[in-house]
Each structure stands twice: as structure tokens, then as C-alpha cells.
């Protein structure tokens, strides 16, 4: 699903955010990406979502070489990926329903289909009763769940989450992780950047550790070499 081969990212000005990163994630796997702040976790996710492009090496997503995706195809490329942000990136002038419906509206789904899918996504994150409220009235955990619902509403094969539990207490964090685990169990590939080591260690998933832009540890590499 995701394959990095000798991928490096140097930002203008000479800062090396990632150096020679190699790993492979098969479909349906859930993995954590960890490391100190500035280790390159966000950059790695950005390379997958084509928010940044590699300087050297290659990144394949769903069999597609990201370097070969032209600028005008990027929106269609991103529709295959659900992205969850630490700061939720919700639109506060729209209801929960409208926020979650946005990817479907963008993709041009018919009206009935939108209603059905939004309710299904909200059901998965246990927010079915909150369709009509505005995100500002929700708690941090609820807002994050709205963000997750929006990321999964058009059933992407790949979920990326950048510090999804960054602002949440441990109980809420575990709740969020349980939701991610559920998705990976139905075949969604999930990559979560997090520095919440206590939480990560409590879960059995593969852990990729970055240090100064280099991949220094990978707990699941040997067992997952099926294409």
C-alpha cells in the first residue's frame, strides 16, 4: 500500500527532513510512526499525501509512484486517502453533517448517497446524534471523531493520522485508537504519527521510529514482506 524506497526530503534552505527512508506497508496494516518532534514524522505523512514531494528516492502509494502524479491530478489522488489532523481542520461555520459530507460533495456524490454515507460514518465514531450541531459546541474528543468521520466517509483504502490524540486525555486516546483498529480490521491501511509512547506500547501494532530524518527502528519489517 505504501512503499518508500530511498526517499529523502530536503527543504529549501538545506534542512534534511528525511534521509534515505525505506519501508513497506502492506494493505490492511496499522502502524505507528514515532520519534521526537522534528524527527520527520509530519514530513513523511506529507510525502504520502503529496503535500510535499520527495527530493530523492521514490514513494509509492497504492502502486502509484507519487512523483508521477501531476499537479492537477493531486486532488483525485488525495480523495483515495483519508487524513486526520491534530487540530481537526474542521470548518466551524458548518454543521457536523456538512463537515463530514464535504469529501462526498467534492467527489460529486448524489444527494441521497451523501446522507446515507455521512450517517454511516458518524455512526462508526458514535456521533450519530450530533449531525445538526456546530463543531465549536463539541468537546476535543468529539471534534477529533468528527475529523475521523470526515476522513473515512468516502471509504479510502488508506488513513493517515498526524498526532490524532495530541490534545486528548489517555482514556479518549484509547477510544480513538480503538476506532482506528476497527478500520484496519476491515482492510483499511492506517498509519498514525504519534509520540504518545505509552499508548503505542500498549498496542500490538508495528512501530516505525524516526530519528533526525532517518528510520532507526522498525518493529514489523521482517514479518510483513508480502506484497
Amino acid at each position: 500500500m505504501i512503499r518508500f524506497t530511498h526517499a529523502s526530503k530536503r527543504y529549501p534552505g538545506g534542512h534534511d527532513a528525511l534521509t534515505d527512508v525505506n519501508f513497506h506497508m502492506p494493505p490492511g496494516q496499522m502502524a505507528f510512526l514515532t520519534g521526537h518532534s522534528g524527527a520527520g514524522k509530519s514530513t513523511l505523512l506529507k510525502l504520502i499525501a503529496l503535500l510535499e514531494r520527495t527530493s530523492r528516492g521514490q514513494v509509492f502509494v497504492n502502486g502509484q509512484n507519487t512523483a508521477k502524479v501531476p499537479r492537477r491530478r493531486i486532488p483525485y489522488f488525495r480523495r483515495e486517502i483519508g487524513i486526520i489532523f491534530q487540530d481537526h481542520q474542521l470548518l466551524f461555520d458548518r454543521t457536523v453533517f456538512d463537515n463530514v459530507a464535504l469529501p462526498l460533495i467534492i467527489a460529486g456524490y448524489p444527494h441521497r448517497e451523501i446522507g446515507r454515507r455521512v450517517r454511516a460514518a458518524l455512526d462508526k465514531v458514535s456521533l450519530l446524534g450530533k449531525e445538526k450541531v456546530y463543531p465549536i459546541t463539541l468537546s476535543g474528543g468529539e471534534q477529533q471523531r468528527v475529523g475521523i468521520a470526515r476522513a473515512v466517509v468516502n471509504k479510502p483504502a488508506l488513513l493517515l493520522a498526524d498526532e490524532p490524540t495530541g490534545n486528548l486525555d489517555p482514556a479518549l486516546s484509547r477510544e480513538i485508537m480503538a476506532i482506528f483498529t476497527e478500520f484496519s480490521q476491515v482492510g483499511v491501511t492506517v498509519l498514525i504519527a504519534s509520540h504518545d509512547l505509552a499508548l503505542i506500547e500498549s498496542l500490538p501494532n508495528r512501530v516505525l521510529e524516526l530519528k533526525n530524518g532517518k528510520l532507526v527502528a522498525d518493529s514489523g519489517d521482517d514479518s510483513e514482506q508480502v506484497a
Binding site: P75, R78, Q89, P103, I106, H111
Partner: protein, 320 residues
């Protein structure tokens, strides 16, 4: 099998078109709804556009009216043919009949030598002095009023050349200097209005562009989110373009109302003035074609202005 495949293809196309139309319609009204949330700000922008467009539109109508008035004066250009003294009364009348048959000619009036002398004696006050002359010094004259086919200055001049070539004619005179001057002045005014219109159109373009630029900045977060979850440039651009469309439409509407109001205020006094000159004149306002042009121009300027802003600023906003 192949048929059903084609049919489903057609259906997909029809559904695609349907969806496309529906989305445009949604954005069409969504952008209107966004504008109606801030009615005062919207009205201010539309009023600026309206006033900027009302000026050239109003001048255009003034010019049209002036043309209509001066059209009545075209007939005042008369050609005087002074005939040779050897031409007698009978020959002159034959020439009059001949000229009258020309398609460019409206009316021909014949003033015989005797009649001319009589008139001159009566009007000049030199009656007694002229009596002292043995011979009538005045030539007979044909006064020609060009017809509709020769109402333009160039055509009138052609007619003059034609008439000058008759052997009976001694001198051919065209009294149209002032008409030419009037036309020249109107040409200048018309061009001035055009220059003004272009300048004000640019102003409208910039006003709309700036307003849309602010709207883009205000909704920066929204644009970032849209781009993050796979919104195409066209999708993100669309509401702003429609907003520009609405500004253009409202601006055109305001310009139309302003021009119509101004002319209804002016029409009374102008008709009174025309009455004092014993002229029948009805002030015409914006006709259908001009109004259509006004609306088309304002909508195009609205769209163009937003296109400029969107093209420049949407690309700058990228999620990071």
C-alpha cells in the same frame, strides 16, 4: 450486450451531466446565500460597480439622443446650384425635373432670375439701386435638399460633385461646414465616452477583483481544508466565480436603475426646452439592446474580476 453497455454509458453520461448541473446550481445559490449574509457589504460593492457603469451607460444614452437630434439637422445641409446666365427659364425647369429624378435628391426648388431679383430687392433694401441696373445681375438658382439616401456628409459631397458636372451649372455650393463640425465634435465625444467606459470597466474589474481577494483571504482555512480532502481547483474556484457573477449582476441592475432614474428626472425639463425651440423631441432612455449590453458587460466584468483574483490567489494557498 453491446447495446446495454452503450445504454448504461449514456445513462452514466446523463447522470454525470445531471450531477454537474446540480452542483453548479447549488453553488449558484450557495454563493448568493453567502452574499445575503452580509447584505450591506454586498450592496456597497454592487453600488460602486453600479455607479461606475452608470456613467458610461448614461453618456451613451445622451450621445444617442444627440445623434437623434442632429439627425434632424442633417437635412439642413443644402446644395445651391447657381446656373449659367445663358441658361433660360425653360432649360432651368428641365434641369430641375431632371435632378428631381435622382435618387439621392429629396427636394429641388427653382428660383428664377426674376424671382431672385424680386426677393433680393425686397429683403436687401437696395431696391432702388438695383432699379438703376440695366441687366439683372443675379443667376437663377436651384436649391437642392439631399434625400435620405444622401444624408451622410460623404454622400452629400458625392452628390455635390455629380451636380457640379452638369453643363448648365456655373457654381455649386454646399452649406454643410457646421454639420461637419458637429459630426467631428460628436466623434470626439463618442471616443471620449469609449475611453471613459474602458477606464471605468477596468475600475470595476479591480473592485471586484479586490473584493474577491478579500473573500478568498477570509476563507483561507476553508480553502486549505478543501485542498486537503481532494477539492479540485475548479471546485474551489467555483463559488468565488459565482460571487463575481452576482456582484456583476447586481452592479448592472443598480446602473440600470440609476440611468433610468436620471433620465426620468431630466426628461421633463428637456422636453420643455425643446418646446421653446419649437422642436418635437422625446428623450429616449436605455433601450432594450443597450440595457442588455449593460448587463452583459457588468456580468462579464464581475466574472473577469473574480477570475483575476482567483487565478492569482488560490494557487498561493496550499496546505502545509
Amino acid at each position: 450486450m453491446a447495446k446495454s453497455a452503450r445504454q448504461s454509458g449514456d445513462n452514466a453520461l446523463a447522470t454525470g451531466l445531471h450531477v454537474w448541473l446540480l452542483r453548479h446550481l447549488q453553488v449558484f445559490f450557495y454563493s448568493l446565500g453567502q452574499l445575503s449574509r452580509h447584505p450591506f457589504a454586498t450592496l456597497m460593492t454592487a453600488a460602486v460597480i453600479g455607479i461606475a457603469l452608470a456613467l458610461p451607460a448614461g453618456l451613451h444614452v445622451v450621445l444617442k439622443n444627440a445623434q437623434q437630434v442632429s439627425g434632424g439637422w442633417d437635412g439642413a445641409a443644402k446644395i445651391s446650384l447657381f446656373l449659367k446666365k445663358t441658361v433660360d427659364d425653360r432649360q432651368a425647369r428641365a434641369l430641375q425635373a431632371q435632378i428631381r429624378k435622382l435618387p439621392e435628391v429629396g427636394q429641388v426648388r427653382y428660383i428664377s432670375r426674376d424671382h431672385a431679383l424680386e426677393e433680393f430687392q425686397r429683403l436687401s433694401g437696395f431696391g432702388d439701386a438695383l432699379d438703376a441696373l440695366e441687366d439683372n445681375p443675379l443667376p437663377s438658382v436651384l436649391v437642392i435638399q439631399p434625400g435620405l439616401a444622401a444624408s451622410q456628409p460623404a454622400q452629400t459631397r458625392q452628390l455635390l460633385e455629380k451636380l457640379r458636372n452638369y453643363p448648365e451649372v456655373d457654381i455649386a455650393n454646399l452649406d454643410m461646414q457646421w454639420v461637419k463640425r458637429l459630426y467631428a465634435i460628436m466623434d470626439i465625444v463618442r471616443r471620449g465616452v469609449l475611453v471613459l467606459a474602458v477606464l471605468l470597466a477596468m475600475a470595476v474589474l479591480l473592485v471586484v477583483g479586490n473584493t474577491i481577494r478579500l473573500a478568498i483571504q477570509n476563507r483561507r482555512d476553508e480553502i486549505v481544508v478543501m485542498k486537503l480532502i481532494g477539492g479540485t481547483d475548479a471546485f474551489i474556484r467555483r463559488p468565488f466565480l459565482y460571487t463575481g457573477f452576482w456582484y456583476g449582476l447586481f452592479g448592472g441592475l443598480i446602473a440600470f436603475v440609476l440611468v433610468s432614474l436620471s433620465f426620468s428626472v431630466l426628461s421633463g425639463p428637456i422636453e420643455r426646452l425643446a418646446g421653446l425651440y419649437q422642436q418635437q423631441f422625446v428623450l429616449s432612455g436605455l433601450d432594450f439592446d443597450s440595457a442588455l449590453l449593460l448587463f452583459a458587460a457588468s456580468i462579464l466584468l464581475g466574472l473577469g474580476g473574480s477570475w483575476l483574483a482567483v487565478g492569482r490567489h488560490l494557487r498561493d494557498i496550499e496546505p502545509a
